[in-house]
């Protein structure tokens, strides 16, 4: 509940002290931040009768002085410019400015300069700069995610922007929790090191007053890891509900867009999958596909019973009861159709792409041994006509990641076969992946123990890595055994997956005393991971051509 309730508290506090009709003005990022934790009907209860984006609101000329403006924006250059224009020509009675991160003095100066009409009543920093999609899982929705795979010289300003966004996001998570963490990072990753250092500088030097919470309990732990240490998880097909929907269809900010999947009634074209609002989803989001089928069948049966009793209206009392229970009936109907549609769609995709077969091979590649058997299996599937191009690519990648060093000849054969069969395949993609995340680049035994939490625990115990805690400015590299922290925040540069958030949630539910929170720059599925790879490959190629 931690992340969601923190974000909700911030929004509540923004709205509660301001009376009268309000308009809430957001930017494209804060829209996501607010939409996943607050609903439209709750806004209406707080008398917020209009929600606008800060860039589109500049175009309108209507003056609505009976509304009070509540701005919730990220303190970026564009937003400050938009605000300048709007404060110079105010359309609303009062303005209350809330920023999701720390403002620089120059920005406050600019705003004060443009507020000639003195409409601004307050300027506050409310640190909700992360998208809390699940109670223990947050993301930052960074569009240029691929940049983490490129060396710093390729695009220094882009990389700086990427790191800044991550540092902003992570620091607000800790401000929301009111803790200052001990920071650890994966030593083999330059970008993890950079982010760790910048975060540490922010929390312990630049804004140390803000972060000094004077808590006497054990500090929480911030672990910064690189996605490339485990490139296998995003490539695998998933079979638990939330992860599967994201892999096969795609979840964005807890919304699923079904409009591309054939004819659906208008109210089912886009649906919400949020564990906070949907009790059935909350109970089943981590269940296997087979079990979900059973649960949905049970839900449909219950619903049919209710529907039948609703049709059997004989007495006046029945009529009265029907009228009373109609809203709940409607809600149940909507929920049932939503889940049935989703599961139907996923079953269709599973059938079309022969995913059962493909996934079996994938799991074998990820877990069991035997290079020869694996090579044969992958070759067979490559020859199989009904397997889609994308799945073929996955299989070759998984094979390459595992058996990179054994039998390069066979590996080459697979590459050639893949290139010849899939016209859309960008040549060299698998090799690029190996360059990024090959055996040499990874720490630990990926195939022995792919459990994220084990890796995290190892890092927490300080058995291998340097301790970069800035509490004492010396960096000690010995095996310091630190007492078990109560809170551990794991940030994966490059993106998290729903499978990892599932392990985190299940671990937290088991009440082991340590609470884990997971965050990433995006939420990956195999499509997004491949897109990032392709984009990075393209840029790397073009930059080498230039140089």
């Amino acid at each position: 509940m931690v992340l969601v309730s923190a974000a909700r508290d911030y929004v509540n506090r923004m709205l509660q002290d301001i009376s009268g009709m309000k308009v809430l003005i957001l930017d494209s990022q804060t829209v996501s931040i607010v939409s996943v934790v607050y609903s439209q009907s709750e806004l209406l209860q707080k008398e917020v009768f209009l929600v606008e984006l800060v860039d589109s609101i500049s175009k309108s000329k209507e003056s609505m002085s009976h509304l009070k403006a509540v701005y919730f924006l990220r303190p970026t250059l564009e937003n400050i410019q938009h605000l300048r224009r709007q404060l110079a020509n105010p359309r609303f009675g009062e303005s209350h400015l809330f920023f999701s991160n720390m403002l620089k003095d120059t920005q406050i100066h600019i705003l004060a300069d443009s507020d000639e009409q003195e409409v601004v009543q307050q300027v506050q920093e409310y640190y909700a700069d992360f998208v809390a999609i699940d109670p223990y899982h947050f993301t930052l929705n960074i569009p240029s995610n691929h940049i983490y795979m490129l060396p710093a010289v390729v695009d220094p300003p882009g990389l700086q922007q990427f790191c800044d966004r991550i540092v902003d996001g992570i620091s607000t998570v800790f401000l929301a929790l009111k803790r200052r963490p001990v920071i650890r990072y994966q030593r083999t990753s330059d970008i993890a090191k950079r982010i760790a250092q910048e975060t540490s500088k922010l929390m312990y030097q630049q804004e140390s007053g803000l972060f000094d919470f004077r808590r006497t309990e054990i500090s929480p732990l911030l672990l910064i890891v690189d996605r490339r240490d485990d490139p296998v998880t995003p490539l695998l097909n998933q079979w638990t509900y939330q992860a599967m929907v994201h892999e096969l269809i795609g979840i964005h900010d807890n919304k699923v867009d079904l409009s591309s999947t054939g004819k659906l009634p208008k109210d089912q074209q886009e649906v919400v999958l949020s564990s906070e609002q949907d009790a059935f989803f909350k109970a089943n989001m981590y269940e296997n596909f087979g079990d979900i089928g059973m649960s949905i069948k049970r839900m449909v049966d219950d619903f049919q019973q209710v529907a039948k009793s609703n049709q059997n209206i004989q007495t006046i009392e029945d009529m009265a009861k029907f009228v009373d229970s109609y809203p709940e009936y409607r809600k149940m109907h909507g929920n049932v159709s939503k889940h049935v549609t989703l599961v139907t769609e996923m079953s269709k995709i599973v059938g079309e792409r022969r995913l059962m077969l493909v996934s079996e091979r994938e799991q074998d590649l990820a877990c069991n041994g035997g290079q020869v058997a694996a090579f044969e299996a992958v070759t067979n599937l490559l020859n199989n006509e009904s397997v889609s191009d994308i799945d073929r690519l996955h299989l070759v990648m998984l094979y390459a990641l595992r058996y990179e060093k054994e039998s390069p000849v066979q590996l080459m054969q697979l590459f050639n076969k893949l290139a010849s069969q899939s016209p859309k395949y960008k040549p060299g993609l698998v090799q690029f992946l190996l360059k990024q995340a090959g055996v040499d680049k990874r720490t630990g035994d990926l195939y022995g123990n792919r459990d994220l939490l084990n890796i995290a625990r190892n890092m927490a115990r300080g058995l291998k890595n340097c301790s970069k805690s800035m509490a004492d400015s010396s960096s000690s590299c010995d095996a310091v055994v630190i007492p078990q922290p109560q809170d551990v925040v794991i940030f994966i540069v490059g993106g998290t997956t729903y499978e990892e958030s599932r392990s985190v949630a299940l671990q937290n539910a088991s009440n082991s005393g340590t609470r884990f929170i997971l965050g990433g720059s995006v939420v990956l599925n195999s499509k997004r991971f491949l897109k990032d790879l392709e984009e990075a490959q393209r840029i790397a190629k073009s930059s080498t051509n230039v140089v």
Binding site: A6, D9, M21, L26, V31, S32, V34, S35, Y38, Q40, S41, L43, L44, Q45, E47, V48, F49, L50, V51, E52, L53, S60, E62, S63, M64, S65, H66, G93, M102, L103, D105, I108, H109, A112, D113, E116, E118, Q121, Q122, V123, Q124, E125, Y127, L175, A176, K178, L210, D267, V271, V272, S274, D278, V323, D324, Y326, P327, R330, K331, G334, N335
Partner: protein
């Protein structure tokens, strides 16, 4: 949960910058600003002193874009007319809520065993129920007036106000339904209790009939008549109550049907803020497209053509007439 207040720093900067601005606006080099330059000093003072007033008048201190002259000075603090309607509805809802509390008390009182025949209680209950239903119906009708045409920002605000009030109304009517049904149920239980006694007496009467056939004929008839009258009275009253229930159910069903169109279903996509923003953008765009299309068709429209042709012909005829009179 940490926050930081930057308002003080902001105000400090604002005041400092204001004092920097005042001397420059009254300097002669800015006289190109026009007549406003001379009045720059007092205007600023006005703005600062009336900071706390709800109705502030803003005079343009600079005329950066002359095209904006139509804006001029606008008064702050006068909401549009529909806000009054929404406030009225909100007041009605509040009144209905208070009456519901009274109704709950009246229900409790009526259900208590009393020595009177409870007709007065019945009447107050009926009166209150009717009042509340009336308020709800009136509010619902007024709610329809809040709807606006045209895709403007104002219409979005109105739609949202409508939705919020519709949710309140729906909750109230459901509460009223529940209270009514529990009350009726309990009332029926009580009545049935009384009926049960009568039934027993009936049975006894019946047994005595079997025993004494002829002698008790007259007595039996009297007994039966009394019984019949009593049960008739009960039936009549029962029917009246059922009639009432049917009426109120019908009314409330109607209200709820109208409201359910407006009320947002929680947990669905319509309840998402980002979905509503996207939709607003698309409806505004659509509206713009429609307007542009309408403009185009109007321009190309036959009416405009006809009108221009006629005007030209009139002008031509006029010229011919003038020429005729000149030449002759």
């Amino acid at each position: 949960m940490a926050t930081r207040n930057r308002t003080l720093i902001f105000r400090k900067y604002r005041d400092a910058l204001k004092s920097v601005r005042v001397p420059t606006s009254s300097s002669p080099s800015t006289s190109s600003v026009g007549g406003v330059g001379g009045g720059g000093g007092p205007v600023i003072e006005l703005a600062s002193t009336s900071l706390l007033h709800p109705n502030r008048k803003y005079a343009p201190i600079s005329t950066e874009d002359p095209g904006n002259s139509s804006k001029g000075a606008f008064t702050v603090g006068l909401p549009p007319a529909w806000v009054d309607v929404s406030e009225e509805i909100a007041a009605n809802v509040q009144r209905a809520r208070m009456k519901m509390v009274e109704l709950a008390k009246a229900h409790a009182k009526a259900l208590m065993p009393s020595f009177g025949d409870g007709k007065e209680d019945q009447r107050t209950i009926e009166g209150l129920t009717q009042e509340i239903t009336g308020l709800l119906r009136k509010s619902e009708k007024q709610l329809k007036r809040l709807a606006a045409a045209g895709p403007s920002e104002d219409s979005n605000v109105r739609k949202n106000v409508q939705r919020s009030l519709a949710t309140d109304l729906q909750n109230l009517s459901m509460e009223l339904r529940k209270k009514q049904s529990t009350y009726l149920k309990r009332l029926r239980q009580q009545k049935e209790g009384q009926d049960g006694d009568d039934l027993e007496m009936n049975l006894n009467g019946g047994r005595s009939i079997i025993d004494d056939d002829n002698l008790d004929d007259m007595v039996f008839n009297e007994h039966q008549m009394a019984k019949l009258k009593k049960s008739e009275a009960f039936t009549v009253e029962r029917e009246r109550e059922i009639q009432q229930v049917v009426e109120s159910v019908n009314e409330l069903a109607q209200i709820m049907k109208d409201l359910s169109v407006l009320v947002i279903d929680q947990g669905t996509i319509v309840d998402r803020i980002d979905y509503n923003i996207q939709n607003v953008a698309t409806t505004v765009e659509e509206g713009l497209k429609q307007l542009q299309k309408a403009e185009r068709t109007q321009k190309r429209g036959g009416m405009v053509m006809c009108a221009t042709v006629l005007v030209i012909m009139c002008a031509v005829m006029l010229i011919l007439l003038i020429l005729k009179t000149i030449l002759f």
